[in-house]
């Protein structure tokens, strides 16, 4: 299992943010975590990334425990997060942002090769490679954030709300890119409020509600689950 989360509990001081959360991600899968604001989706990703540490429970990758590993160790294991709100380094150029994505990589030739591949996939980023990241549009920044994640040579990409604040057309484009990345062999854990979009490209999904996983299963099943339709897919419109 590329990522296995077993019964983790996370506390922010007195707040019990994640309660006995367990799920897994197999190689090659896209798995969605859906849920409302404050359900603990981002907390979950930050715990996997080592920014937060669980008070109990276990996180493993290929059988190796990474529960208390530091963020830089986890990135080196190929588990790379693309954070919520994109978090581009605004005063640094697009090129510098991408270089930072490859911070853990040491093979210069490989880095350049990956950079070329990224410029081919995102021609806009190539055009703007000397421009400060903060001057890009929202959609371009999201592309840069994903591209920066790819520079780290990820085996798993943790995507936190990639559709946030983007126009519908751009959202579709981003999800298309996510699917492509997955087809090229990167497993993806997707955190989304846009449940319909997320589940439609996912193999499986989990529903998170106030820190607990209340439902899990194949994405198709979840898309037709009355509870999911009611709570996350906008009732009858889903």
């Amino acid at each position: 299992m590329i990522l296995e989360i077993e019964n983790i509990n996370v506390h922010y001081g007195a707040i019990h943010a994640l309660k006995d959360v367990s799920f897994h991600l197999a190689e090659g899968e896209i798995v969605s975590l859906i849920g409302a604001n404050g359900a603990g989706k981002s907390t979950n990703l930050n715990t996997i990334s080592g920014i937060l540490h669980p008070t109990s429970g276990k996180i493993t990758s290929f059988g190796e425990e990474i529960t208390h590993a530091a963020p830089q160790t986890i990135v080196r294991k190929g588990i790379v997060q693309v954070p919520e709100g994109r978090k581009i380094f605004p005063s640094m150029s697009v090129w510098e942002n991408l270089e930072l994505g490859a911070y853990t990589q040491t093979n210069r030739a490989e880095i350049n090769e990956r950079m070329q591949a990224i410029f081919q996939r995102f021609p806009r980023l190539k055009e703007r490679r000397n421009q400060p990241g903060g001057t890009l549009s929202g959609g371009e920044q999201q592309m840069l954030a994903i591209a920066r994640g790819l520079m780290a040579k990820p085996r798993v990409l943790l995507l936190d709300e990639p559709s946030m604040g983007l126009a519908p057309l751009m959202v579709e484009q981003i999800f298309e890119i996510i699917r492509e990345i997955n087809q090229e062999g990167t497993s993806i854990l997707l955190v989304e409020q846009n449940a319909l979009m997320a589940l439609s490209i996912s193999d499986r999904g989990y529903v998170l509600d106030t820190g607990k996983i209340v439902l899990g299963g194949a994405a198709d099943e979840l898309l037709h689950n009355p509870m999911v339709i009611d709570a996350y897919l906008g009732g009858n419109n889903g």
């Binding site: 530091a70 963020p71 510098e96």
Partner: protein, 367 residues
Amino acid sequence: MNETLPISIARKGANVLKYLRPVFGAVILIFIIYRLIQTLLIQEIFGPETWTRLVIAGMIIGSVYALIAIGYTLVYGILFMINFAHGEVMMLGAYTCFFVFEALKNIKVGADHSLAFSNAYPVISIIIAFILGMSVSALTGFLLEKVAYRPLRQAPRLVPLISAIGASIFLQNAAQLLFSPQLRDVANPQILARGSGWKFLINGSSVTIPYTGVFTFLLSLILLVSLYLIVQKTKFGRAMRAVALDKKTASLMGIDVDKTISLTFLISGALAGAAGVMWGLHNSMVYYFTGFVPGIKAFTAAVLGGIGNLPGAMLGGLFLGIIESVGPAALGIDFQLKDVIAFLLLIVVLTFRPSGLLGEVLAKEKV
């Protein structure tokens, strides 16, 4: 009636403040212009040779300020705190300079064992002094962060500031107890002897460019430019800027944030150490309080240039050095008042341009 009274007073206070700033500025400006006209045009107290001397002295001291100011700005950029113990880090570098030359003076070489090592091999001696001085200061900065600042990383911003002031007092007193409170004379090697330099005539009187001064200025410039290139062009520099911008996202890139902060303190300490060794060589005097005034001046320089801004700190240092050197003469006041001019400049900059001369960094909200 009773309730409205405090409000009206407060309003009046705000009005007074609104007028105070331009009035304060106007008064300073009129005074400066008046004195400049008087000293430069009417009285002509000083000839060009004096101005040249003052500018040379200002550039030398300014380059030292710039080196120390870089340390303030680097640390502020990455932790948003003022490392008030930075002047003491520089003082330890100056002491190292003293001890190295003291030791090398007592090592005798040559046929009859009468030649001091520092005079027989001056270049090697100076290199040893810089390596040791920079290492001692770098290590001090590194330990300072580990002991006094890292445990307070999550504390409110005022707390590490107080810790820094405490560390500053601690280091001063430790130096006083360990090395005695006396002024110590640095035994400069002969090629950098105090007072020696290139002499030339302006208006019939001799002006000296001291060797120690040229050396200080050039070495500062080299160190500043290399630091700038490291920060802007290398992988480590990129990591440093990323940590300064956003620690959480930097760690998601795989950057070891703690290590980067430690290295920042090592670098700023090393630069302060180099400044300390230069100070020792140029002024030939060291004591436990050596770091205090240059430290505060360099802090002023960093604020002047816009704290958090590297070129700002460099320019701020040079600018402050020249202003405080030329200022008293230009205004026709006592030379002892140069500190007054330096700190008045700080007040004026903070009042009219709080983000500093080159600063836009402060304009953005940093959390």
